[in-house]
């Protein structure tokens, strides 16, 4: 009752934003050499796949793509409601690669911290960069995205929802007020 939603990005805007992030990644890294994409479960996987599809169009190359589950590295694992741990699947050598870590929403920075720790246990990449669709502010750790789709400073009574067609049936980013 009393829930209001505000649209931040619609279907077209989601696509444009991913296109822009893709170009920024290629620009900042001066191409695609030693570049790989790692999506953080769950929606980061689909964003990573879409970025890879766009890189294919622009540069005619498919980058190595991995999936990261950070559950085992979380600092709030003792409070998780669902104890589900899923698989990490990174089928390539991370050593000396430039990793683009991809997530849907950046908030406290704790997910990013966990993801960096998880990656460091798998190898020694040359660089790690972070791309997110939404930066909702309110950081608790000194973390910052290298590529952000949109910035929206979320108030305590608001929540950001990213929906992607692969699992949610449609593409949109909305803010829900309770």
């Amino acid at each position: 009752m009393g829930k209001k939603t505000v649209s931040l990005l619609d279907k077209k805007a989601v696509d444009r934003t991913i296109t822009r992030i893709t170009h920024e990644i290629l620009e900042k890294n001066k191409g695609y050499e030693d570049l790989c994409l790692i999506g953080i479960r769950t929606r980061g996987i689909y964003l990573a796949k879409r970025i890879n599809d766009k890189i294919k169009v622009v540069e005619d190359i498919v980058l190595p793509l991995g999936i990261l589950d950070i559950t085992m590295y979380r600092d709030d694992i003792f409070k998780l409601k669902s104890p589900e741990v899923k698989k990490t699947d990174i089928p390539f050598d991370l050593n000396n690669m430039t990793i683009i870590l991809i997530d849907d929403v950046m908030h406290t920075g704790r997910t990013t911290r966990a993801a960096i720790d998880a990656i460091m246990d798998l190898g020694r990449p040359k660089k790690i960069q972070l791309a997110v669709l939404v930066d909702r502010g309110d950081r608790e750790l000194p973390m910052h995205p290298d590529y952000a789709g949109i910035f929206y400073n979320v108030s305590p009574e608001e929540a950001v929802l990213v929906r992607l067609r692969e699992i949610d049936g449609k593409d949109e980013v909305i803010v829900v007020r309770t």
Binding site: D69, M72, Y73, I77, F78, K79, L80, K81, S82, P83, E84, V85, K86, K87, T88, D117, A118, D121, L122
Partner: protein, 307 residues
């Protein structure tokens, strides 16, 4: 899926969903053991005590490795080096250990129900690492994990267990687990080693190994439980071996992709021949590898979160 169990006392207390949840979690934890850095910080700051009143190589080591790969600290106590030999009761030992604030105690004891008794007095999680001839839940879970990994399913399989069924906690826990699935279970052994009226559970009993392994997808071999007086139930080891020992020629009657399992320790030349134990159908060492993953999942689910 939510998990709200503090203890793992037996397979009998688990639902099918809970069993599958452990197996699915173990699938993710198995990958940790294949990495160069075989450690995740999941259980950092937790303490696991293994309290073993019976000998063990695999189970104790497996629990210790599992805990360490999750960054928990482990302490191992065996009866021969504990105050047990000075006359301390199990309950006193457990309560004293609990005062040192462990998060989980893995106990193996020759007395059935010992872990259940402890769980009533303890805030820490209690994990049954084998209680007499009663249950050995993590063994059944790793057996199911191995079966599912090799066969991609559990439903619809013919599973034959041969040996000293009556004294085997492994057989009991496996039967409790497999009964949740649509499996055909055949138990085989000398009549003195088959539990009375087991057929009433819908289980087939065979006294002839050739018949028992006919069309089997999985053959699980058990040793004679000498420590539980198993030897008194058969005329001689030699006779047992010639009638119930699994040999290469038996495998022709099983499905052509049959897998051979054994919880260890094996008595080569008695219940299993060298050719079978080391042959292409044997998954005995896979069981050991999977044991670590299943115990990581168990520890994570029991002590990883506030319940």
């Amino acid at each position: 899926m939510k998990w709200n169990k503090k203890d793992l006392l037996g397979i009998r207390e688990l639902t099918k969903e809970e069993i599958l949840f452990v197996l699915d979690s173990a699938d993710s934890f198995k990958d940790i053991s294949k990495r160069e850095v075989k450690k995740v910080p999941t259980l950092r700051g937790k303490t696991v005590i293994t309290l073993f009143y019976e000998p063990s190589t695999r189970t104790r080591t497996s629990f210790e490795i599992a805990a360490k790969r999750l960054s928990a600290d482990t302490i191992n106590i065996s009866a021969s080096t504990s105050s047990y030999i000075k006359g301390e009761t199990l309950k006193d030992t457990a309560k004293n250990l609990e005062s040192m604030k462990p998060d989980a105690i893995v106990i193996r004891h020759s007395m059935p129900g010992a872990p259940h008794m402890l769980s009533k007095y303890m805030k820490s999680s209690v994990i049954n690492g084998g209680d007499g001839a009663h249950e050995h839940p993590t063994q059944a879970l790793l057996d199911l994990f191995t079966i599912r990994e090799k066969k991609n399913r559990i439903d619809g399989l013919n599973i034959t267990i041969v040996g000293d069924i009556a004294h085997s906690r492994v057989a009991r826990s496996n039967v409790f687990a497999l009964r949740h699935f649509n499996t055909h279970i055949t138990l085989c052994g000398p009549p003195t080693m088959i539990p009375h009226d087991i057929e009433s559970l819908g289980i087939q009993v065979e006294y002839n190994v050739e018949k028992a392994v006919q069309d089997a997808d999985v053959i699980m071999m058990l040793r004679i439980q000498k420590e539980r007086g198993g030897i008194a139930y058969i005329p001689s080891i030699k006779e047992y071996s010639s009638i119930y020992g699994l040999k290469t020629e038996h495998l022709k009657r099983a499905k052509k992709d049959v897998i051979i399992m054994h919880p260890g320790p094996m008595n080569r030349g008695i219940e299993i021949s060298d050719e079978v134990a080391d042959g292409p159908y044997s998954v005995i060492l896979d069981q050991v590898e999977n044991g670590v993953a299943v115990r990581m999942a168990t520890l994570y689910l029991l002590i990883g979160r506030e319940i």
